[in-house]
């Protein structure tokens, strides 16, 4: 359990605590088949923060992540990453700009017996960018680069506590462990912004605790996190700031204590006023 803290002062991978606005969502709207999934949603995420995006099912949270990530194009609105426009760019380009993410349903690579290590190595694509010519003619250079990436991958796996599974196939792992592998993979590109889509769903209490520790450690590395989550205990304890969506519209925004006490939020989603640890008042 102390793995997460152990890497805090590595030097490599940490950066000066970031400042300013990392992500700005500006009046994003998106509709499908006549359903308005998002309507004029706006909020900001401060650099170095963990911001949670919460709301009832169907509120458009995953849709918003897909818009930020480039998998969906909004009908209107813009998204800014440190001032750079994201809307209109392809997902690959957005990834190269420093955005990484995990998915609600686990999307690990499994074809041709790809291992956990293969998956994590692929997270570093941004730094590797392999070519056929390189594979055939630059064997020496490629081998050296590969060695460096492998070391980094094993570090990432150690960080999440999964280095023992490096040569296993994802299918052989438990759900919770697969989520950890996904997390390790998403860190390989050294992102500035990490989008986590319901990382705690399907995890037991112990696994949720572990995830929370990892998120704190990731934040300490200087990475900004935007977290979509239903687990209120986790959200209240780990978030610096929270934004609430309801029926695709912005409902409220604030720090955990404010959100807990916000009557509109309670009515739409929480059901009852909650304590800061996420339990009922």
């Amino acid at each position: 359990m102390s793995q997460a803290h152990g890497t805090k002062n590595e030097g490599r991978g940490t950066r000066a605590q970031p400042d300013g606005t990392m992500l700005k969502v500006a009046e994003v709207s998106k509709s499908f088949e006549g359903v308005q999934a998002l309507l004029d949603v706006s909020f900001e995420v401060r650099a170095g923060h963990i911001k949670a995006l919460i709301g009832p099912n169907g509120a458009g949270k995953t849709t918003l992540l897909n818009v930020i990530n480039g998998l969906l194009t909004p009908d209107s609105g813009q998204v800014y990453l440190r001032g750079q426009e994201l809307v209109g760019r392809k997902t690959e380009q957005i990834a190269l700009l420093g955005v990484s993410r995990t998915f609600q349903l686990i999307r690990l690579f499994t074809v041709n017996n790809a291992t956990v290590l293969d998956n994590v190595l692929l997270g570093a694509h941004k730094h590797v960018r392999p070519t056929i010519g390189g594979a055939l003619f630059l064997r020496g250079r490629m081998a050296r680069a590969e060695k460096a990436v492998r070391e980094k991958a094993m570090e990432a796996l150690s960080f999440v506590g999964m280095e023992w599974a490096a040569d296993m196939v994802p299918g052989a792992l438990s759900f919770g462990n697969q989520r950890l592998v996904e997390l390790a993979r998403s860190l390989m590109s050294e992102p500035e912004l990490l989008l986590l889509d319901e990382p705690a769903s399907g995890l037991n209490d112990a696994e949720v605790e572990r995830f929370m520790e990892l998120m704190v450690a990731i934040r300490e590395r200087g990475i900004t996190i935007l977290l979509v989550e239903h687990n209120m205990s986790l959200v209240m304890r780990v978030s610096d700031h929270i934004v609430v969506l309801d029926f695709g519209k912005w409902l409220a925004e604030g720090d955990p204590s404010a959100i807990c006490a916000n009557p509109a939020v309670i009515e739409a989603y929480l059901g009852a006023e909650c304590k800061l640890d996420g339990g009922p008042a």
């Binding site: 990530n69 480039g70 998998l71 392809k90 997902t91 690959e92 990834a95 190269l96 990484s100 993410r101 998915f103 999307r107 690990l108 690579f109 499994t110 074809v111 041709n112 790809a114 293969d118 190595l121 692929l122 997270g123 694509h125 941004k126 590797v128 392999p130 070519t131 056929i132 390189g134 594979a135 055939l136 064997r139 490629m142 680069a145 590969e146 990436v149 993979r185 390989m188 590109s189």
Partner: protein, 318 residues
């Protein structure tokens, strides 16, 4: 035993090199059969990179086989170009076609992709038939000379056998190197989940085109070797039926393993030699083989071989 498992390919290469003077009895006929086998190994292996690793279904691989064959044939017969240059020209044209068609074709999924590759194959074949003045049309292109490099002509079947299999070894080795590299890993990501791949910065479209071009170049090489071996080209040899045969080899051998499809090609091309009088059964047999593989042995022959190998190796080590 472990040593055997690791260096089996040396033994295989030795076998291929020593076959003609020993078991082959210097028979030109046998060398000829094995030349065909080698050509189809190249075709199957090149398709595996595209289908097995990158997951792009192609029912029209013979299109590039045709381009290589006909460019070699036409340039050597009608323009007196040297076979080596003609082969390079064929590779160039195949690469160009694959590069030009690659992006739009590979943007399609599943059935659309299969149909598009089929259509491309048929367009090439119908063009070959239609452009009679250039290609000899349905009656074929005759008098293609033997392959030659700087004056040395490979008239002798045995000599050509060594040339072909040297090229086969090069193609298989290159394919293995590419497949096992970080490039190959990227292909697997694209095959598994393009959406997830994109979120790590992988430009799926660009990588797909690159593999398409590589597989087209290899298929073209096979086509050129084929042209100089046959001495005569007919459009029938490059139809969708040929593409489908390559697909059967792919699955029979074990898709996604490089060695598997090579094995599949060897098996499927040697089978008619064993069952000479059953020519007419070939189509039915291929279909049945493919069905059996899909339902019962999805990992193909290579899957069976690795299974046996693993059992021996672990037993020896334990």
């Amino acid at each position: 035993m472990k040593l055997l498992a690791k260096y089996w390919w040396i033994i295989l290469l030795l076998f291929i090199a020593l076959y003609p003077p020993t078991l082959g009895g210097m028979s030109p006929y046998r060398a000829g059969v094995l030349i065909f086998v080698g050509i189809y190994v190249i075709l199957a292996v090149s398709l595996d990179l595209l289908m097995g690793y990158t997951g792009q279904i192609s029912v029209g691989h013979a299109a590039f086989f045709a381009i290589g064959a006909y460019v070699s044939g036409i340039l050597t017969v009608k323009c007196g170009v040297s076979p080596l240059l003609a082969m390079l020209a064929g590779m160039g044209l195949s690469a160009a076609v694959a590069w030009a068609m690659g992006r739009p074709v590979l943007a399609l999924k599943e059935y659309y992709l299969a149909m598009a590759t089929l259509a491309l194959n048929e367009i090439i074949v119908t063009l070959i038939i239609g452009l009679q003045w250039l290609t000899g049309g349905a009656s074929g292109l005759r008098d293609v000379p033997s392959f030659s490099i700087i004056g040395f002509s490979f008239d002798n079947q045995i000599h050509y056998y060594y040339l072909v299999w040297a090229i086969v070894a090069l193609v298989v080795a290159s394919s293995i190197v590419v497949a096992r590299s970080s490039f190959g890993r990227t292909l697997i990501a694209i095959h598994s989940d393009e959406t997830a791949a994109k979120t790590f910065g992988i430009d799926c479209a660009a990588y797909k085109v690159r593999v398409y071009v590589l597989s087209a170049i290899f298929a073209s090489i096979a086509g050129s070797l084929f042209a100089h071996h046959m001495g005569f080209l007919a459009p029938d040899d490059f139809s969708v039926f040929t593409s489908i045969n390559i697909l059967v080899m792919l699955y029979l051998g074990g898709i996604g393993t490089i060695y598997g499809p090579a094995l599949g090609a060897v098996f499927l091309k040697l089978l008619p030699e064993v069952t000479l009088q059953f020519q007419d059964y070939e189509m039915l047999m291929n279909g049945v083989i493919l069905i059996i593989i899909l339902v019962f042995v999805p990992k193909g022959l290579f899957g069976i071989v690795t299974g046996i190998k693993n059992r021996f190796v672990t037993r020896g080590a334990g």
